[in-house]
Amino acid sequence: MEKLKYVGQSSVRIDGKEKVSGAALFTDDLEFGPDLLYAEIVEGPHAHAMINSIDTSEAEHVPEVLCVVTGKDFPYNFGLYMKDRFIFAQDRVRFFGEQIAAVVARTPEAAKKAAKLVRVSYSPLPKVLSPVDAVKKNADLIHPDLKHYEHVPWFFPKPDSNIAHHRKIRKGDVEKGFAEADYVLEDTYEVPRYAHCAIEYHAAVAKFDHSGRLTVWASSQSPHTQRNLFASALAPMGITHNDVRVIAPHVGGGFGSKAGVTMEIIAAAIATKVKGHPVKVLWNREREFYNTYQRLGVTANLKVGVKKDGRITALHHELFWDAGAYVEYGANVVNAVGLSAIGPYRVDNASIDSYCIYTNLPPGGPYRGFGYSEFLFGLESHMERIAGHLGIDPIEIRRRNAIKAGDLTAYGAPMNPNGLQQAIDAVEKEIGWKKKLVSKDPDIAIGKGFSLFWKAPAMPPNTSSSCFLKFNEDASVNLLVSGMDIGQGFLTVMAQIAAEVLSVPVSKIRTENPDTDRNPYEWQTVASHVTWGCGNAVKLAAMDARKQILALVSRTHHLPEETLFLEDEQVKCMTRPDFSLPLKDFVIAGIQMGDGTFKGGPIIGRGVFMPEYASTKANPETSQGGHPNVHYTVGAAAAIIEVDRKTGKVKVKKIVEAVDCGKAINPDLVKGQITGGILQGISTVLYEEMKFDHRAKMLNPNFTDYKIPTSLDLPDEVVPIIIEVPEPDGPYGARGMGEHTMIPVAPMIANAIEDALGIRIKSMPITSEKICLTLLNRGKND
């Protein structure tokens, strides 16, 4: 094992000083000068309606208004995985609050005033609000043109239905597996929609200049994907990839909401109508809730068969996803779960049906966890209940079924090396699982709950990352990458990897969020894949630079290259302890020879990574045959809670979570993901709840009525545990873990509530009100 100096250290974040001093600039902090224009959106007041006509004449006459644009100006489809979305609604609106038009004006006030004067005539259509209704025979179609939409080859839409995609797993012999079972448990679990709640709004400023250049500054997780989608959507206007440039400043939280393209394309499109002016589109808190993406809701029917010893003989998981009005991104959530809804278990006989269903609710899309939080709420509740029925310890039943390296996943490819057993053991010990806890207060019930988790990056098989690395005169380094630091610490981790290879301190490495003109390609900062994917590209770029350095010193100093190495910003030689050459002497200037000439020149490294073994090519009826997921990250968690029997209020006393991140490049940042993810998970299970009225209008799109936790809502204690079973193709063995940390929280709290009160709640959120009502109704329906 090589000795590591920078990788594995809890370095301070390289953007720490910027962020605590107020120097960090976010999109809406940038200055665009006196020519800046402002856009205001006109929204549809129906969840489902045909648009008869739009009259913009009155709005156009408001002083300081430059233009009003509608769907007619941009009759283009766009989307990441399926082109079912529009820049502005075309002939119909499909969710309440959908963008119909935009007014562009010199001031925000004029734009707002004029937006109210845009007259739209609608013919309302029947609303389809639940996925169960949407798949009924004769259900109203939300996308009659579904069969004409372009989509990735691994999606299977059902024409003339509301089913945009159906991912099927058929592995082994499920009927035989259930026949062999000693016990079969079948039940339904409900997980509603949730909102990301990044504190910074979506913001985009676009400028289409007189040379035909379209520049977009956006709060974004996906600068290159945005460039790609803008260019392909606006191609009919003659705009090419070469014309589009996306610049990404700091991002005030993403959690999936700023992945792909949502409102940013409005700015890009509008800019083409006001050539020469920058135009700003700034979302507000309400629109953050109802017009970006929401986490998809799901109704999951789960059937699991086990032997008396708890070993799983068969699993059937049927998931009906409420994917909303547009599924261009959300359908891949459905796909990801369709491939993985066996959970982190060895299941020889499995069938999964994961249905992506259109509804007249806001578009569902990526949210931290990408569907895994949703299906594991049911599965990990189910495992606990099966253990209870069989009289097996809930941790023991997981241990017996936990997937091991080499076991076959649901799609038939072998599971990667992993530390699931170590995670289970570590959590069991730290939480004090066997110790019975009793409250002295008769009103307080104490419970313990446990959950496993797993998640794979869901990405196209040709997803890639790349890096340029350049030295400066003082041997400091600029790393050019296009992953985004959305708070997770990505840039710091990239700097640590380069520091390790080059033996240059982290503090001398500068790396910033990208500009697609200057920085090399990265697919997107999603799927918890950038530490792994871009980390590989950075490592390769640093190795490339190192090779150039050593080759140069070898040929100028006549030393064998294999005897040379880098240490403390110098080139040293194994066979000549007296030899040392500081990097700063030559990484730009080159090395001077005896005759006065110079050799070398600026050192510039290059690295590219693509997982060349990944493939989505498989039998669509079974999903067997491909290798769609590069690897899974696994872990275990447990909680101790107190519940007040009178009020239903849950207090989280302690949470232990162990995650196998392969190698913690920066342990402090890994722990930060655990602490933050756990609170986000607690919030979804205990506090957050969207409410919609009869028109399908969201009633609580604000932080007054949609509660996220404050500093007064913390668990008393969180113990993060890092497990390190290396990923064979990860940089220093690392694999992603950012999303995963919130996944086990909801089921383990549900399990702890059952342990405390003897009630099983099968729908989220588990609010105090729901606990009290369940306690009151206990026995009534039995």
Binding site: G253, Q488, G676, T710, S711
Partner: protein
């Protein structure tokens, strides 16, 4: 338009505003103080927190005309003479992730420390309870404030 004058980060400034202009917008878009952020516009999130005569207040809930002749400090003012022990501790603890809530959070903590140099954990939690953070789970921020204010 009305001319108003006040002290911003130790400097006497004036600006013309309409009676309905919000202080947060005036600071950000007319006076170049970008550190106060907007996260809700309704006083729920605390990202726009500033110090008004030493008190941490939400600048999205104040009309600009109300601050005539008063004293305003934003994070730019705190950082002007180098980082404070609180800011240094926040860096050491990797306390922030995306950093969007940081300006408001730091001003709330600064108000606390100015009146209570060695606060307990509960006092720290209470002081920043009006500043929403979606990334960190708050604990690293609390630990940093504790470390910066512990008795030596």
């Amino acid at each position: 338009m009305k001319k108003i004058s006040f002290s911003l980060n130790g400097e006497q400034r004036f600006v013309y505003v309409t009676p309905n202009e919000i202080l947060l917008d005036v600071l950000r878009y007319k006076m170049g103080a970008k550190s106060p952020k907007c996260g809700c516009d309704t006083g729920d999130c605390g990202a726009c927190t500033i110090l008004l005569n030493g008190k941490a207040v939400r600048s999205c809930l104040i009309f600009a005309v109300e601050v005539e002749a008063q004293d305003i400090v934003t994070l730019e003012g705190i950082s002007r003479d180098g980082l404070t022990p609180l800011q240094k501790a926040l860096i050491e603890h990797n306390a922030f992730q995306c950093g969007y809530c940081a300006p408001g959070m730091i001003l709330s903590a600064t108000e606390l420390i100015n009146s209570n140099p060695h606060p307990g954990e509960e006092e720290i939690k209470e002081a920043i309870s009006g500043n929403l953070c979606r990334c960190t789970g708050y604990q690293p921020v609390i630990d940093a404030i504790k470390n910066a204010t512990k008795k030596h």
